[in-house]
Symmetry: C2
Subunit: 214 residues, 2 copies
C-alpha cells in the first residue's frame, strides 16, 4: 500500500484567494487524490471536483456534505494544510502539489513555503502552484531541469541560511559553484536563456520560484 | 552626519501592487526620507509625495522628472530595493520601512523578506508594511512588545533554520522558552489576548507578521 501510493500524486488545496477554477480543475485532473484543506474544499467544489477528503477544523466554513471528512479541534498545533500533509505522508504519498496557499495573507504564504519545505525534509517532494507562479525546493546534492517557460522569471533563494555549490545553467545570469545566503536576494528574477534551465546544488536548501512577469 | 541620520526614518517604496494611496501618503508623512525604488516612484507620485530620491535601473518605467535620480544598469547584482537599502545604509540611516514590496509576485515577496533581513544583519532595523499586514524580524537576545491590533493575527516563524528560547506572552497560544524550525509553521495565526503581546528570543532569527484577518 505504502509503495503503491508513493507513485501517486496528491493535491492539497488551501483557502487562499483563487479565481481561475478552470486552472484548478485541470490541476485536480492531473492528480490521483485531492484533499481540501478546510476552506480549500470550497475551491474544489466550485471547480467541479469533489475532494476525495476534506480535512481541517472547519472554523472558517461549513463541513462539506457527501465528502469524507476528518475534523480536528480548532485549538491544534497544525495548520489545516499541515494536517493534510501529515495525513497524506502517513498514507504513503510522496509526490505533492499544494494549491490555494499563496496570493493572500503574508502569514499564509510563509506558512505555505514552510509546509512545502516540510515535505522535502520528510522524504517527499512537491510544488506550490498558483495560476501565475509556482515554486519548489532543491536540496543539497540534487539537481533539477526546468523547461523554458515563456514570459516567466526564474528565481532562486537560499532558504537555509546559506547554500553552497550552486550552479545555474541555461539562464541569463548563469552561476558556477556559487554561494547564496538568506540575507540577500541575489538570485531573484533571472530569465530562461535556453530551452532547458539546469540547477544543481551541493549544500543547503534552495527555494526555486517561477513567476509570470507582469 | 552618520549619527544624525541614525535617528531618522527612511521609507523605501517598491513597485508591488498598491492601491491605497491615502495609506501610502500617511506612511510617507511619518518618514524623514522617501526613496522610490524604480516603479515605486510612481506609487509615491500618485500618493502626492515626491520621492526624495529615485533609485533603480528604471527598466520598468520612465525616470521621474524633478526628482534626484540614481540610475543603475539593468544588469546588476542587486534588486532595486537592495540598491536603495545599501545606499541608505551608507548614508547612515538605521531605521527603515519597506512598502510596496508584497502582495504581488511570490519572488518579489521572498526578496522583500530577505531585503528586510539584510537590514537586521547590517546593524539596522525595519518593518515591511502593507495596508493590511506588516512584518519585522527579531534576532536572538532581543525582545519586542506589540500593542494589540484589533482584527489581526500575530504569526511568528523561524527564519533561521531554528530558533531557541522563544517566549510569547499576551497571546492566545503562549509559549515559554520554546523552539521552532523553518520546516513547520507552528507559530502561524496566533491572536492577541492582552493589550500588549511580548516576544523574546534567545537564539536565531524570528520573522514576525501581523496580518488583518479576512
Amino acid at each position: 500500500m505504502m509503495k503503491l501510493l508513493a507513485n501517486k500524486r496528491c493535491l492539497i488545496v488551501g483557502a487562499a484567494p483563487l479565481e481561475d477554477m478552470g486552472w484548478l480543475k485541470a490541476l485536480a485532473d492531473r492528480h490521483d487524490f485531492c484533499i481540501g484543506a478546510d476552506g480549500g474544499c470550497r475551491h474544489l467544489l466550485r471547480a467541479g471536483r469533489s475532494p476525495d477528503l476534506a480535512i481541517g477544523d472547519f472554523d472558517s466554513g461549513t463541513v462539506p456534505s457527501g465528502v469524507p471528512v476528518y475534523t480536528y479541534p480548532v485549538e491544534k498545533d497544525d495548520t489545516d494544510a499541515m494536517l493534510a500533509v501529515k495525513w497524506a505522508l502517513e498514507q504513503g504519498y510522496r509526490s505533492f502539489t499544494l494549491a490555494g496557499m499563496v496570493g493572500g495573507r503574508l502569514d499564509h504564504t510563509v506558512a505555505a513555503l514552510q509546509t512545502l519545505y516540510y515535505l522535502f525534509c520528510h522524504g517527499a517532494s512537491g510544488t506550490l502552484q498558483a495560476p501565475d507562479q509556482w515554486g519548489t525546493f532543491l536540496l543539497g546534492g540534487g539537481s533539477l531541469e526546468l523547461p523554458r517557460q515563456e514570459g516567466c522569471t526564474l528565481s532562486v533563494f537560499a532558504y537555509s541560511e546559506q547554500v553552497r555549490g550552486l550552479t545555474l545553467q541555461g539562464v541569463q545570469y548563469p552561476l558556477e559553484q556559487g554561494e547564496l545566503t538568506n540575507t540577500f536576494p541575489l538570485g531573484v528574477s533571472n530569465h530562461f536563456a535556453a530551452p532547458t534551465a539546469r540547477i544543481s546544488l551541493a549544500e543547503g536548501a534552495l527555494l526555486i520560484l517561477v513567476c509570470q512577469e507582469y
